[in-house]
């Protein structure tokens, strides 16, 4: 399955889960429309933006974005499905705390996998024309998100459930905030040193 087909399948799964949710709670149409459309719209914007991308670095980045969309869609679809299974009494309410912890651990593990792979992406621009220090930023973001994912796993496993969700949310916000901040600082700052390698003597 290619990243493109996986992202399409995941978006359809999210759409289907949202339709199911609307059928169970028809009075919450606005909520289900939002859940059904936000990710597909984002997916459509990314596909349009990447239509004319060429080169192996851009292909890797585009596929990475597709896998991110697929991951977000599947996580949302799973969350919706579990919620509806509880609402329709297919799953007993007593299982909800355990399901939440498992979902939290899976989310943390996903962050670790995502962060681990991020530094493997190569800059699509030539060294001299990079708008920011691609390598340093992606290394920083990768480490931050990986450590954040590990902390999320601990946050869901260790504290009482009532505090686990708050702890995990704070950790995720901190990690993603650090990552975004680092990228913005790098874009705003000039490169530290020339990044163009010298010519190789024949």
């Amino acid at each position: 399955m290619t990243p493109k087909s996986l992202s399409i399948a995941a978006v359809f799964a999210l759409f289907a889960a949202s339709l199911w949710g609307w059928s169970v709670t028809p009075d919450q149409l606005g909520r289900w429309v939002l859940k059904a459309l936000v990710v597909p719209v984002l997916w459509g914007i990314l596909e349009l933006a990447h239509m004319k991308r060429r080169g192996r670095e851009w292909v890797a980045i585009v596929n990475w974005h597709r896998l991110c969309i697929a991951w977000v869609s599947l996580m949302l679809a799973l969350t919706i499905a579990l919620h509806l299974l509880v609402v329709t009494d297919v799953v007993e309410v007593a299982w909800v705390p355990a399901i939440r912890r498992i979902r939290g651990v899976v989310f943390g593990a996903s962050l670790m996998i995502w962060g681990n792979h991020l530094p493997k992406l190569l800059s699509p621009w030539a060294s001299a024309g990079q708008p920011f220090d691609w390598q340093r930023v992606h290394r920083f973001v990768g480490w931050t998100v990986s450590i954040g994912g590990f902390a999320v796993i601990l946050g869901w496993l260790l504290p009482p459930l009532g505090e686990a969700r708050a702890a995990a949310q704070i950790i995720v916000i901190l990690a993603l905030g650090l990552a975004l901040g680092r990228k913005l600082v790098s874009i705003a700052s000039p490169p530290r040193r020339p990044t163009t390698p010298g010519a190789d003597p024949a």
């Binding site: 962060g115 681990n116 792979h117 991020l118 530094p119 493997k120 190569l122 800059s123 060294s127 390598q135 290394r139 990768g142 480490w143 990986s146 040193r193 020339p194 990044t195 390698p197 010298g198 010519a199 190789d200 003597p201 024949a202």
Partner: protein
């Protein structure tokens, strides 16, 4: 993963990865920094490419290497550097291996 361990087991290849952390470099620059011949370095570059730790971009006669380390691979590199053999530069700037812990 075996390919990664093999790539990280050699101090010259670890030195190449550390140099590439700063910026992309050509094969010639890496050979000059490592004080080894290009033929020797070619073998090291092949091992690093096979382990998917570096990317080689050939334009004309120039090959530019870029780092491609995941977080786990970078952590492994740091671990091996901390507990393995390190290269130091002697007064004549030639690399000499020594075991960690033998300095006074």
């Amino acid at each position: 993963m075996n390919l990664v361990f093999k790539a990280l087991s050699d101090p010259t290849r670890r030195r190449v990865l550390q140099l590439l952390r700063e910026r992309p470099m050509t094969a010639g620059e890496l050979a000059e920094e490592s004080h080894l011949s290009k033929a020797t370095m070619s073998g090291h570059f092949a091992v690093l490419r096979e382990a998917n730790l570096v990317d080689a971009d050939k334009r004309g006669t120039t090959i530019t290497y870029r780092l491609k380390l995941s977080v786990l691979e970078e952590a492994l590199l740091e671990f091996v550097e901390s507990f393995g053999f390190e290269l130091t530069l002697g007064h004549d700037r030639r690399p000499r291996p020594h075991a960690v812990g033998t300095e006074f």
